[in-house]
Point group: none
Chain length 213, copies 4
């Protein structure tokens, strides 16, 4: 058996068999590189150099550059999920906007705790060309995820029911992305406590718009 059962196995068995220490070194090197230079500009050379592994070994662990990136992305997603799953219990019951507020707060916390993951997610979220180069045409999990909540929000009457769900989803995603970027640009991850005040405003806009009364 050479372990060929799955179609494409993101990192190869050889990578998962590595000692944790070595694996972490590689992940760290990749993370640093991808976060600071973005996928396209990142260099395998730099990564293997910083990870202090021979170049040949890299290709024993990963199919190619994309494969490594995919793996890093899935780590990021898994990590982010940890932050969001805490919200799940109340997901069915609470007000859509309260839920959203919490999701944002957790998102920011995630960004604070894992700035490199945050960078990488952002690159991916912002560059649809890259997204489809890496993941093909599969619709993004984020989209599915949101639409589920929006549907629930509509059902609960929190959200007006005369709008297209996917349209709302995209609008919120865009808005949220912009919001996060803006906050971090302005305050960085350190003054995270001020987030609430901004989130309030974000929710306010989303909920009631910006029209004068």
């Amino acid at each position: 058996m050479t372990g060929q059962s799955q179609e494409k196995e993101m990192p190869k068995q050889t990578f998962t068999n590595l000692t944790e220490e070595k694996r972490k070194k590689i992940i760290k090197a990749a993370l640093d590189e991808f976060a600071s230079k973005g996928f396209r500009e990142s260099s395998i050379n730099t990564i293997v150099q910083n990870a202090m592994i021979p170049k040949g070994s890299f290709y024993q662990y990963f199919e190619d550059k994309r494969d490594l990136f995919k793996h890093i992305c899935s780590l990021a997603a898994a990590e982010k999920f940890k932050y969001l799953e805490k919200l799940m219990p109340e997901a069915g019951e609470s007000d859509f906007f309260d839920l959203l507020r919490e999701m944002i707060a957790q998102g920011i916390r995630f960004g604070k705790d894992h700035p490199e993951y945050y960078c990488i997610s952002n690159e991916l979220l912002n560059d649809r060309a890259l997204m489809s180069e890496i993941f093909g045409e599969q619709t993004s999990r984020t989209d599915d995820f949101f639409q589920h909540f929006i549907n629930a929000g509509i059902k609960r009457g929190d959200i007006r029911n005369d709008l297209d769900v996917t349209f709302i989803s995209r609008m919120i995603t865009s808005l949220g992305l912009g919001f996060g970027e803006y906050f971090i640009e302005k305050h960085g991850f350190e003054n995270i406590e001020r987030i609430d005040e901004y989130t309030d405003n974000f929710i306010l806009i989303l909920k009631n718009g910006i029209a004068g009364r």
Copy 2:
């Protein structure tokens, strides 16, 4: 040293001295390349080849790759401005949301008439790392531009007055960007007539939010 007062002089004098025909050829080649491959993947080689100018000349005209890109961006901005300035006369008087609707319509028209410019703007707008690599930390013109209108909107009472102007500006920009992408992804530039229906919804959300009543 050319003894010019500016720090970096976008295209050099030598470029502006060129015949218009030659200049256009270079611009066209650059435009095609940047629009189809993005800044980082674009190749000076390809550009000079298509522009049919000697490679040495390129560096006589422009400081480097970034410099050329900057120039292209400024052309894009200037072109876009032409679409927007038609709105100026009524700018002071009309309702902010009517104005915004018009701005969006013009934005779409701009994208339709100049798809290459549209591509390039989008790349820039979506990739803040690129933005700051190219333009340094200078705040974007777009931001300034919007804030002017928002201020006016607030003064007129169209927009609620309890929100930070730059915050609103960024929210609208993000939202607008996402909106545009979504529309074009879904309908392309050909079915542009359907834009109004979507714009209505966009304005609706922006104005009144998504809360159920």
Copy 3:
């Protein structure tokens, strides 16, 4: 040191000790690879993957890539020999040209039944650099084989006796090779029935030359 009397031991003992099933799997993988890519372009990686054996094992079974190729070649030779030995009984008695005609027919049959062997033989036969890289300077078996028949042919008076035997041998070999290639290029293995018509001409030329009378 394994204390074997031979200089290099083609496949190692470890290989011959393998179960037939395993051995066949390896042979098949190697055959497919060598036949489709040629020796130099063939990859040990691909072979071990398709044979589903560990890479380390490969080097337990064979000295190196050349060693495996040698083995495959010897299998090809053995297989071809099976086709030719059917002709042996009559070898001493029948006319040289009749015999040759039969040899060709059998050669074609061999190619039809074992296209991969055929490919590999052809590569080797056509690339003397490869031949000597693989087998060193040892004179080819084919040469020896032919010369035996030619000598018989001369003795029987079928072949003129004023020519050097090795010279004739090489001429026939070359001619036969070209003939085979030409036929297969033109008709493929499927329309094998037309071979007789061509063989007649081939024998005709060989026998009587191409001079006008």
Copy 4:
């Protein structure tokens, strides 16, 4: 003008503009490499190293490895043509076999004077896969060339007229190739004077076959 007029221009202008000394150095390095290792095994690295040019320059001169090889081949062809064109004047009048004898003699002389060219031609002639990889599907000049003479020979009554011309052509080519190889293997280029004796036999076989009378 950047010199784009021809479809693909084998070596680029930049190469032809080089000083003869430099050009020769590159040709020599390429010739040595290709002749000793064959196309596929030859390394651009080795070539640029021996030619003492930067790797980047290589790709300024040639499109790629194939392009360089093509150029070398065309030099070989041109050189060989010089040897053959001496025969042209009498081509129409003299006996086909006399002409062929001369062609062979000149071929051998060519091989003697330009052993590297000879190696390269041989690789190409013997490896039809390589041939079509390099030159596409265009039918070989050699084939056309020969068929012309054979047709003439048939018309003159030198060659029997009941055989297919392309068939004869291929048979002679194969035979000639094998003949050349055999001679050189046996005597090398030094004892070239013995060639006549062998050529006589070759022509004899071709003309009258090998049948005993």
